[in-house]
Symmetry: C2
Subunit: 218 residues, 2 copies
Amino acid sequence: MSAQSELPAPSIDEIVGQKAARALGERALRTLFVEARTANGFLPRPVPRHLIERIFELAELGPTSANTLPLRIVLVETPEGKERLIATLSPGNVEKTKAAPVTAIFAADTKFFEHVPRLFPQAPKFKDAFTGEEKAQAATQFALTNATLQGAYFMLAARALGLDVGPMGGFDKPALDAAFFPDGTVKSIWIANLGYGDDTKVFPRNPRFRFDEVARFV
Amino acid sequence: MSAQSELPAPSIDEIVGQKAARALGERALRTLFVEARTANGFLPRPVPRHLIERIFELAELGPTSANTLPLRIVLVETPEGKERLIATLSPGNVEKTKAAPVTAIFAADTKFFEHVPRLFPQAPKFKDAFTGEEKAQAATQFALTNATLQGAYFMLAARALGLDVGPMGGFDKPALDAAFFPDGTVKSIWIANLGYGDDTKVFPRNPRFRFDEVARFV
């Protein structure tokens, strides 16, 4: 192709304009943030597995440190699985978890670094930063932080696909880990009910900080 | 109003249909997840403060355990602030951070529990679960987990408003905390450049896990 037939390269302002045009509309922002509320009860309707798998595929694309992807997820949907899960819950979390079609357990793989050569091939030796008993505590903290990021992406991806999410911290962590991660290398962080929420059971929204109370420009 | 003029209550299937209709379209999913990439360079254009404040307002609505909201954010944009920040970075993170119009420091307030009576008025005594020296380690872990959730919401809210985000873990944490959080109660977790990314500098996307490698239904 001759130089004359090529389009001129876009200017920086044109590129920035195109990037700004990626922004979501108000309706999408309402779905993700403004109108989304923690579900405290669920309508008796299932969530198809393909929808859960689509949430996963979106969330898995989100950034983690050195692409380590330490999140492990158990999706509890069978009566037998629910029974094992509910035995570990605080009393206040039992009824809504019974009502939810599926409950996600978000957990961190403390041996995540074994996958570094495959997931981060540009720096396979990053694995060595976490290998060895004396680095186990640093590895666990790294796994918890990055798996927590991924679980947040998962919850927002679930909202993005039209579901309601009810995250919960009230459970017996050692008991849940023994029931679902018996080999000891995967540690639960929090759990979340997923489904179509019963809006009559949502609590009033609690206060939030103003920007200038918790953030500052320097 | 007479009973006759009232609309019949919607059926469960109608409510679920309305909820499913909240789902984002493909374009929004591309902005948030599918086409979003970690920025590794930035176009020389500013990000207005009101856009950062809007990101904050959206992200602040996301769920945290007992609405504790432990995230604290410093937005580094001045030459003096950038200089202090860059002194703490790994060499590989310096150039892109110089180019970014603003860099967010995501940090956790380990004394978050002092705000529980205001933020979670239905259970002000939840504060006591973290008060006292013997509970300091549990409080710090709780703060880190919930602040990490909030930082993830912030990064996705930034993408939702059309920005590119470049999260980084490569910095000297004690040095950064000494420079930006000298009173010792706030602990940095990670940092992220914000702006309009230079797409010519993005790295190829690394592999991801398949669903069945890291998730399971039970």
